[in-house]
Amino acid sequence: MSTAAASIATPTHGEPSFYAGSSRRGMLSWLLTTDHKRIGLMYLAAMLTFFLVGMTLGVFMRLEHLTMGPTIMKPTTYNALFTLHGVIMIFLFVIPGLPAVFGNFCLPIMIGAKDVAFPRLNLLSWYLFMTGATIAITSLFTGGGPPDTGWSFYVPYSVTTGTNVTMAVLGAFVIGFSSILTGLNFITTIHRMRAKGMNWMRMPLFPWALYATAWVQVLATPILGITLLLVILERVFHLGIFNPAIGGDPILYQHLFWTYSHPAVYIMIIPAMGAISEIIPTFAHRTVFGYKAIVMSSMAIAAVGSLVWAHHMFTSGMSETAIIIFSLLTFLVAIPSAIKVFNWVATLYKGSVELKAPMLFALGFIFLFSIGGLTGLFQGALAINMHIHDTYFIVGHFHYVMFGGTGFAFFAALHYWYPKMFGRMYNERTAIVAWVHIFVGFNMLYFTMLVLGMQGMPRRYYDHLPQFHGGHIHATIGSWIMVAGLLMMFGNLVRGLFRKVEIPANPWGGVTLEWTVPSPPPVENFEILPVITEPPYTFNPVSKEPAP
């Protein structure tokens, strides 16, 4: 037990849960709330909706590749689809996902606070997020039609295309502002509101990961802000900064864009790693191996990861010295990530591993993220980079990291904290069947992409040559299996909300603070603020139920 004051043995049944305890009724109790838990759930609802939309777009893209030549759409439609799929998945789901949903819900509880440092700013972040999302989605139906630039909005095409890029970029700009405010809020919360006795080295690993992420959010997102702003100014006022026709340099755009968008990859993955670092010890029923190493590697990834952006541009035109330096830095950033993987695996060693649904997703994360990370190193190597640049290998790689990594961690966290969030439980067996489908379908789909890429299949093409046909059919069938699994998982989670079961405060035997409060937690989280006397992840076999 990491707490002395609050413990599971003293339930606080007197207090209403945060669902009941509001002075307002109905929708307004949600829309005007400053409760971090409600805000987290509002993010969850919005993001899962966006995820389903993005997933549907992805399914259509795969269907297009089921046969050669036009299958269900024209090339222009395909261009719009991959742009939308990228924008929705990256800006509306993967980047904000874990911090906004689970960070909001769990961070204050895990550090023993009643809320975040700036609750009203937190609500503002949600509104900014929704405003940005609305603007981005409106851009599909207005102006010159849906943007067709790809999610990276590369100039000069994004400046010259007649599609509604201005509005889509504005949407991303507003979402970026929301991300900055969330990061700012979390940094201040962690600095100022930790429970008494919780010094830095007694803080659980998910808050640590959120802390590292928040710094990247705060320091990198403004670069995206100014870059996107300049694209808008370029389109509206012909400022010329990125436009070679006026004298500007498109490569500068790529530098500025990736100065944000590569660190954004770490905004996606560090909180995912944090969630995994919570789940693995809980289901191995032993303390995490190498706590300090995991903490330091989070900070190291945040720092080094901010200096590797130009590895997206090896073929764009840069001095050879710059290319070699960025290649070296890219290899360096793999070290802290590998340290984490070793620590998780070492945590399992001699633990009493319990293969519940959250644990399966977490183990899936380790496997898929390892493939994603290692294929990333392929691209960091200069010679191979030239060969696989702009091929399906890249698409396969970043789906392994973003979906196999962050996506799986998101689902792991969702299954892990589900009983805490809702006070209900999903069907365990269905969750595992869904996991098998997702895992198998995922590998069929994206591993095939890695192979196709090595063979030379270029990305963002709506059609393919005969030699790639078998691979494309294989990948498309994989996408059906995966989507079946995803739908099963969502169905199971929704059905779980209506199953009336009494959920104890601590269904998994976790030892972080969120498991000491009732499920769902009361409005103020803690009746008495906890006092921390021990490091986190101190599993005490005597006071716990015997491990299975």
Partner: protein, 211 residues
């Protein structure tokens, strides 16, 4: 319990968690993000100036140094009145604090008016992004004016936001929401205003004095 539940959701400031250092920390982080926002433009400026040093030099000669310097003095003075406003409220001199704050707002507006006349004169001479007159000139000069409008424009937007924030602060002062023992909002507004000031201090030499 019900009382604290209510206070949590409706959030009257009396029961709210108050943390002076936390509020300031949050503001400083926000200021970092603003600096980085402008940082992207400074990078672009640095790159293009190193590529087109001579043309930048020539184009800078066309800016009105007198107006630029007047605006610098106006903005620096406004930072002084801002500080005086905070000092006044700490000394419980509410009226004086409001007068200083209003002066800051007026100076901010003077800056914007000057800027307006400056931009109008430039546009009148056909010097604006995408104009035929400008497109006839070499690339370095086009970029100089592109950056000039982009950077002073973004700065002007920040001045406008700053003046708006101060208007809100004035109302809060009037309603005693900012008091001698709770002035963090005013102090944070001041930090923001100084940021606007500092950025201008970099813009002045880069554009007006580069000739």
């Amino acid at each position: 319990m019900s009382a604290s539940v209510e206070s949590h959701d409706a959030g009257p400031p009396a029961a709210e968690h108050r943390d002076y250092i936390g509020a300031k920390l949050g503001m400083w982080i926000f200021i970092f993000t603003e600096l980085i926002l402008f940082g992207g433009l400074f990078v672009a400026y640095g790159m293009y100036r190193s590529m087109h040093a001579h043309e930048f030099h020539k184009a800078a000669g066309e800016l009105n140094v007198v107006l630029g310097v007047i605006n610098t003095v106006v903005l620096l003075t406004s930072s002084l009145t801002m500080v005086l406003s905070i000092v006044a409220i700490r000394l419980k001199r509410k009226g004086q604090s409001m007068i200083f704050l209003a002066t800051t707002m007026v100076l901010g507006c003077v800056f914007l008016v000057n800027k307006f006349f400056e931009w109008r004169a430039k546009i009148h001479h056909g010097l604006y992004p995408g104009s035929e007159h400008l497109m006839a000139r070499p690339p370095g000069e086009r970029l100089f004016f592109g950056l000039y409008y982009g950077m002073t424009g973004l700065h002007g937007l920040h001045v406008t936001v700053g003046v708006t924030v101060m208007a809100v602060m004035l109302v809060l002062l009037r309603r005693d929401k900012i008091r001698h023992d709770d002035f963090i909002k005013l102090e944070n507004a001041g930090l923001y205003w100084h940021l606007v000031d500092v950025i201008w201090i970099f813009l002045l030499p880069l554009f007006y004095l580069a000739a």
